[in-house]
């Protein structure tokens, strides 16, 4: 499709300003533009159609099934947007007196209480702008804690299992820690012997996602956190997969000291560019004195803002992405305590339904029941038909769905990771299952055709290698 600059026609305009009453103006020569401003000239209809066309080139949760594993692409209820659009929330300024922003502080307080209840934590900061930022904040709390106890120099290592999200080692590195990678056991969980060998007086923390990235809830979780605590380390819970257990199990009860949540995953706020994200960081009481400034507290005369005693400082201006918190609180209140539990249970049920029905057609990386997502491997298809996980993902796009996550987790070769979420009906799941089966049949019958997929999308196969090696990041003006 054409870009705005390519649609531009001289004389077209969306603005019709009255003739100026002034007879002219004088500016020093060096301040005058020497050529016309480079803005496209377009009528309002042309602009409207351009953006509508752009919106039709993409696939989102509003257009269809989006089983992108590890991302929890659940539907974002419209009521969340309505509430977040109320002028009392949009018309505030972060520097206005707190006595005039009590309603907004109440939102932060109530959302904090709800998330503490769901995670089993004692305090929550909403400053982090997204998940990885929440991780960073969480590890800074742990670092500050060890330093305050005089063990900051000694505890230099963070243990991360090989099934972890890449952000975990990246976060620990950003915080100045050395990574100790430990292998998973055959069931996809933490290898307890490897963990026992890895911990010691130099252990700062263990970072763990539970259920982990292969969709397995680690049955040894209490033993895992005990081993780390006995060595004097802290336990960090990556909340990426919280959707599977919210209302059912709490990281705080599993022995974790710090969590981050991805509100844009678990609590139904939009993902990515349309977000923004929000990655609140919660902790147990012994870490609360280190939380970022400012924390909302409730006093007799209303809500106040307070800087915790040994605060690590601000990790973002003011209160993070406040309107996202409004949306999350709306979602939590809409669902209620029973709804939260039902959402998690349905997410797990949906994943197991798809896994069971696809098992005769695809090789599952792990046989057991899964939580909210599951991983299949196309290593067999790769060696027999020279068809990769990438080819299958591309072919699924021709069936009107977003492809699953590919090549993650790294411990499963030719991985596809599928997370249907709770917001899809059985009809949608059945359609997706039929699409997966059709692609497997196409693969067996005509592998070459799969390597040509997708056929029905606005663009076909893009050169992903060149896009990474030689990216063109700006609009290339043909002529001006």
């Amino acid at each position: 499709m054409k870009l705005l600059f390519e649609r531009s026609r001289e004389g077209h305009s969306a603005q019709h300003l009255p003739q100026t009453q002034l007879s002219g103006y004088s500016l020093p020569e060096q301040l005058r533009r020497c050529r016309e401003l480079r803005l496209p000239a377009l009528a309002e209809t042309e602009i409207s159609r351009h953006y509508t066309e752009l919106s039709q080139q993409v696939h989102g949760v509003n257009s269809g099934f989006y089983p992108l594993g590890s991302c929890t692409m659940k539907y974002n209820p419209k009521i969340d947007e309505q509430i977040a659009s109320l002028p009392g929330f949009t018309g505030i300024h972060p520097l206005q007196p707190v006595s005039t922003a009590q309603g907004c502080l109440e939102v932060l307080d109530r959302a904090g209480q709800a998330l503490c209840e769901i995670t089993g934590m004692d305090a929550m900061s909403f400053q982090p702008a997204a998940g990885a930022h929440g991780e960073f904040t969480g590890l800074l709390l742990i670092k500050a804690y060890h330093q305050a106890r005089g063990e900051g120099e000694q505890r230099t290592k963070v243990i991360v299992p090989d099934s972890a999200h890449g952000t975990n080692p990246a976060t620990a590195t950003m915080c100045g820690y050395t990574i100790v990678n430990i292998a998973s056991n055959a069931a996809g969980g933490v290898d307890l012997d490897a963990l026992r060998r890895a911990v010691g007086a130099d252990t700062a923390a263990l970072m763990l996602t539970n259920p982990n990235t292969v969709g397995i809830f680690d049955p040894n979780i209490l033993e895992i956190t005990r081993i780390v605590h006995e060595a004097g380390g802290q336990c960090y819970y990556d909340g990426a997969n919280m959707n599977a257990i919210m209302g059912l199990a709490r990281p705080g009860d599993m022995g974790f000291d710090v969590v981050h949540l991805n509100i844009h995953k678990t609590f139904a706020t939009p993902h990515g560019g349309g977000g923004p994200g929000s990655g609140p960081c919660g902790c147990k009481a012994h870490l609360a004195p280190f939380l970022p400034a400012d924390q909302v507290t409730e006093a007799a005369d209303g809500y106040r803002l307070e800087r915790p005693a040994q605060s690590i400082g601000r990790v973002k201006a003011f209160f993070g992405n406040f309107l996202v918190v409004v949306k999350a609180l709306t979602y939590i209140i809409s669902l209620g305590a029973e709804g939260i539990v039902e959402a998690a249970e349905t997410a797990v049920l949906n994943a197991n339904y798809m896994k069971k029905r696809l098992s005769p057609y695809y090789h599952m990386a792990y046989d057991d029941f899964c939580m909210h997502e599951f991983v299949l491997s196309l290593a067999g298809e790769k060696s027999r038909f020279d068809v990769s996980a990438l080819d299958v993902a591309k072919a699924l796009m021709d069936h009107g769905m977003h492809p699953p996550t590919m090549y993650f987790p790294l411990i499963v070769p030719e991985a596809l990771m599928i997370e249907p979420t709770e917001t899809e009906s059985k009809d949608t799941l059945d359609e997706a299952i039929e699409a997966f089966i059709a692609v497997q049949r196409q693969l067996q019958a005509d592998a070459a055709s799969l390597r040509q997929a997708p056929q029905a999308t606005p663009v076909r196969r893009l050169d992903e290698t060149q896009a990474a090696r030689r990216p063109v990041l700006t609009y290339q003006e043909k002529e001006l």
Partner: protein, 126 residues
């Protein structure tokens, strides 16, 4: 899968070419480059950086993933293949010509495999 006889290998799929008794040139095997897919970025260490056997030394990025390169030996980085910084595709084109780093003053190493032993490992992983 190309597994040159004269090289040594480790189970994390790096190859080693001993230039001297205590100096080695390191790259990734044909199997590793094939599994990674098109390599788009390489994050080489600096000359003088310490290397510890069994621990990540640097990373490279393919269209699929970012992968740690585990140092097969303990020593010090004495040279890097700077050409790869602008042309990571050379690793895919010839993983045995496109060496990554040289490590000297070697004081220890991971378990080294012969070409035949490495081939047996690859057969097992299939």
């Amino acid at each position: 899968m190309n597994v040159p006889r004269e090289l040594k290998y480790v189970k994390t799929h790096e190859w080693l070419n001993y230039l001297q008794a205590d100096k080695v040139r390191i790259g990734i095997s044909d199997y590793a480059q094939e599994a990674l897919g098109d390599i788009v970025f390489i994050n080489l260490p600096a000359v003088g950086d310490p290397a510890t056997a069994g621990e990540p030394l640097f990373d490279l990025e393919s269209v699929k993933a970012v992968e740690d390169i585990i140092s097969p030996v303990t020593g010090e980085v004495t040279a890097i293949n700077e050409k790869l910084l602008d042309h990571p595709e050379l690793i895919n084109a010839d993983p045995y010509e496109a060496w990554l780093v040289e490590i000297g003053e070697i004081s220890g190493s991971e378990e080294l495999l012969s070409a035949a032993e490495y081939e047996a490992l690859l057969a097992e992983e299939e």
